[in-house]
């Protein structure tokens, strides 16, 4: 009997400690940081006699967050699965062009334009996924290769904006309810759907499992290839949505709209800032949206303060590195507590 107790007592203590850590989940930290940032930003902007979170400010933050948010939602899925997608930025540009050129100013072509753009996006995701799972190329190289192919295509065929988005479809980019753009609400709806998918459905569970340990997942009967391919298809479709949204805002397609905004690295930054492990298996959509909002708020605040762009990038870099270092510390602390002797 005493031997039994020897084992269970420390185990219970460990469990309680784990519970405490869970309450201070990275997602909570992200949103606390966002609130802190909004407060500090408001004060700094307030010192100049302006208001950060006025109608315009909120609109600004949410507009910035929309396209990046869509890309980052997809990126979250692939990163959770233990993969990565560097091709999203070019894909955003490509899909904006496909949508705008198919629509060619005609209202009747809106739906075909959207569907075609999404289908092409899904195809690119399928290629990414298959190159990674069947040819067993590392995700970094595989998606970099696909990114280069997309770039080649764009450079060869486009010199500038092309296509024409009908006025009716531009409402998607500009309509708003009070200070809240409709597109931002749609982005949040996509986020909610992705959150549900990841946390409530079997394929979502399997993404966490594959990212956590692909061999464990395989031995447990998870179809690992299918899981990775699915994640890539969904990621690319999310990038396609971003491309379509940007086409509606710009009124046309633009080949470098994705790369100019740096959506490839920016989306990875948002995901990691949101507390998802770059190695996969842990994290989620809620954190990512927090990360996206932090990046958008930083940009809006800096614009309001008219900060020099170089300084802006320095601060963003510092924020990102600090966040990751913070999570890494917590992970080590957790591991030390979970450790046996």
């Amino acid at each position: 009997m005493s031997t039994l107790q020897e084992n269970t007592v420390p185990a219970r203590q460990r469990t309680t400690r784990a519970a405490v850590h869970r309450r201070l989940h990275p997602t909570v930290i992200v949103y606390l940081a966002l609130v802190a940032l909004l407060v500090v930003g408001s004060v700094l902007v307030g010192l100049r006699g302006e208001v950060l979170l006025d109608q315009n400010g909120i609109l600004n933050i949410l507009t910035r967050a929309t396209a990046l948010g869509l890309v980052a939602i997809g990126q979250t899925m692939v990163i959770l699965t233990g993969s990565l997608d560097l091709s999203v930025a070019y894909l955003v540009g490509l899909t904006s062009l496909i949508a705008a050129q198919t629509m060619a100013g005609q209202d009747g072509m809106i739906l075909p334009g959207v569907l075609l753009a999404l289908a092409v996006a899904a195809g690119v995701g399928l290629v990414n996924g298959l190159v990674i799972t069947v040819l067993k190329a590392h995700a970094f190289i595989a998606t970099l290769g696909v990114a280069l192919i997309l770039r080649g295509y764009l450079e060869d065929n486009y010199t500038g904006p092309a296509g024409d988005v009908p006025r009716a479809f531009q409402h998607l980019g500009y309509d708003r309810i009070g200070p809240v753009p409709v597109a931002a609400l749609l982005m949040l709806a996509v986020a909610a759907l992705a959150w549900w998918y990841l946390t409530r459905t079997r394929p979502g569970y399997h993404m966490y499992a594959v990212g956590g340990d692909i061999e464990v997942a395989r031995l447990s009967g998870v179809r690992t290839r299918r899981t990775i391919v699915t994640a890539h298809v969904l990621c690319s479709v999310a990038a396609g949505l971003a491309g379509i949204y940007l086409a509606s805002r710009l009124g046309s397609g633009a080949p470098y709209v994705g790369t100019d905004a740096g959506y490839d690295l920016e989306s990875i930054a948002a995901v990691v800032l949101g507390g998802t492990l770059l190695a996969g298996g842990r994290g989620g959509i809620a954190g990512t949206i927090g990360g996206v909002l932090i990046l958008a708020t930083l940009d809006t605040t800096f614009d309001a303060l008219e900060v020099d762009p170089f300084f802006k990038d320095v601060v963003r870099g510092v924020v990102l590195v600090t966040a990751v270092a913070l999570y890494a510390r917590r992970m080590t602390a957790n591991r030390a507590h979970g450790r046996l002797t």
Partner: protein
């Protein structure tokens, strides 16, 4: 009671090669419901491969698998699961960041209205845990919050949750402390009473005799014998496995003449995990460090080595007071640590035998000491590593050979104090004996050895003295050849008088 039931699974003439290297030749194996069938053999004998064939992880090159008389072919672990076969693998197959219930039902999550039915998953997991008498584990807790023994329970629950009628266990006790092994025994017996066929792969002689009804011995991928346990003796088994008699199990202990100066001394040392440590280890001596899991055994070694340094008291190495706050300092003082987690902490699995062996020497020593005193092949010969070449990646070696590479890595820097945690965990009889002899040989050549082991026969057979830890502090010291009862009494916090 153990025979007469229907045959559950029959493997006939199983052959399997990897990259042209044959691992199994024409092996037959029969598993009956309500029977524990042990499979024994040295490293590389093909036990794990056989188990993986049964589990649908590997497809055999030839041979047939029959379940309840019908021939089957498994394309994946899922196929085997559907046929009622579940395997508990040697390495833990749990995701630390996911909850117990999510792990148990991984790949088979119940779905209700398009969603994973989390409530049912948790309820079913709890039911299984209750049935095993493990109410202490909460199905909603992440696995990272559980102890090693609890993780093993989760592994078993995971296997049971598939309604398995055939359960394969690969070295199930490798990660457990002695008192936890008893709990596992109970569990295995209960499973047998329920009519489940159990394939039990183990290196531990005692376990196999305690638990099994039949024993199959493999050597070099071939079936040597299959006989009822009652008709075999441990000498028979060892002979079948290694093809020779091993004779006396442990090397001779140190005589007073062998002992040299004190190499490592702790005086009232402690940190967050351990306290009040007073300990001297002399050159030529093997001191055993015993204790239950969580008693601070490994924490002592980690503290001496500077992983989680001592914060109180003093530590002396070769007579001078030293503060070791980093492993690098420890290495340069001549201290070596062979950790209990060979794959996690001991080896760079994807690097070659050569790179692993030279790892410490390259990393920590400079100048004259880093220059090769004995060349690499001599080192590898000394520890008798069996590898295709020194360029083979260590992940392809058997557990025993991996452990030998870890030892070679440290011998390359000629340590004077060797801390070794679970020296023979998960390695076979032949390699075990080789490791034991190596440790004694090192001691004879003036190394002070501090050996941690949860295997009591090993601890008692090897140690010149035994220090027993309980709850982070020393509970007492026992002389060479103390009884298992005496060690357990101290380890569980009883006075010696209470347990005969």
């Amino acid at each position: 009671m153990t025979t007469g039931t229907t045959t559950s699974v029959r493997l006939t003439g199983i052959t399997k090669s990897f990259l042209g290297v044959p691992v199994l030749h024409g092996v037959d194996l029969e598993l009956r419901g309500g029977e524990v069938h042990a499979v024994m053999g040295e490293n590389g004998a093909g036990k794990s491969t056989l188990l993986k064939v049964l589990a649908g992880v590997h497809k055999p090159d030839s041979g047939s698998i029959e379940v309840d008389g019908g021939e089957v072919s498994f394309a994946s672990p899922t196929d085997a699961q559907r046929a009622g076969i579940a395997i508990i693998h040697q390495e833990f197959t749990l995701l630390p960041h996911r909850s117990v219930a999510e792990n148990v039902y991984l790949g088979r999550e119940p779905v209700r209205r398009m969603q994973v039915d989390r409530r049912r998953m948790i309820a079913d997991t709890r039911e299984l845990l209750d049935w095993l008498g493990e109410e202490g584990i909460d199905p909603a807790d992440p696995v990272s919050a559980l102890s090693v023994a609890q993780r093993q329970v989760v592994e078993i629950v995971k296997a049971l949750s598939t309604d398995a009628r055939v359960l394969g266990m690969d070295e199930p006790t490798a990660a457990l402390a002695d008192h936890e092994v008893e709990l596992l025994y109970d569990l295995v017996r209960r499973l047998r009473e329920r009519g489940i066929a159990i394939l039990y792969v183990s290196h531990r002689m005692r376990e196999v005799f305690d638990l099994s009804d039949r024993i199959t011995v493999l050597k070099d991928g071939q079936l040597v014998t299959c006989a009822p346990t009652s008709e075999l003796t441990s000498e028979d088994l060892v002979r079948h496995m290694v093809g020779r008699d091993l004779g006396e199990y442990y090397p001779d202990r140190a005589t007073p003449d062998d002992l040299g100066p004190v190499r490592l001394a702790l005086r009232g040392a402690g940190n967050a995990r351990v306290r009040d440590l007073n300990l001297e280890v002399r050159a030529g001596e093997i001191v055993g460090l015993a204790g239950l899991q969580g008693s601070g055994r490994s924490a002592v070694a980690r503290a001496v080595f500077g992983v989680e340094p001592f914060t109180r008291g003093a530590m002396e190495v070769d007579g001078s007071a030293r503060r070791v706050t980093r492993p690098r300092t420890a290495v340069r003082l001549g201290i070596a640590l062979v950790t209990e987690d060979r794959k996690g902490d001991g080896l760079a699995l994807r690097q070659s035998v050569r790179d692993n062996t030279l790892l410490v020497r390259r990393a920590a020593l400079r100048g004259a000491r880093s220059r090769v005193k004995s060349d690499l092949s001599a080192l590898l010969d000394k520890v008798n590593v069996v590898a295709r070449s020194e360029h083979q990646e260590v992940r392809f070696l058997s557990g025993g050979n991996q452990q030998k590479v870890v030892l070679a890595k440290w011998l390359a820097v000629e340590p004077t104090v060797l801390l070794i945690d679970e020296p023979t965990r998960g390695i076979d009889v032949g390699a075990k004996r080789a490791v034991h002899e190596m440790l004694r040989d090192l001691a004879r050549r003036g190394v002070a050895v501090l050996m941690i082991s949860s295997e009591l026969p090993e601890l008692i057979g090897m140690s010149d003295r035994i220090l027993v830890m309980h709850d982070g502090a020393p509970a007492g010291e026992l002389p060479a050849g103390a009884s298992e009862g005496a060690v357990m009494a101290l380890a569980t916090g009883h006075g010696i008088g209470e347990v005969a």
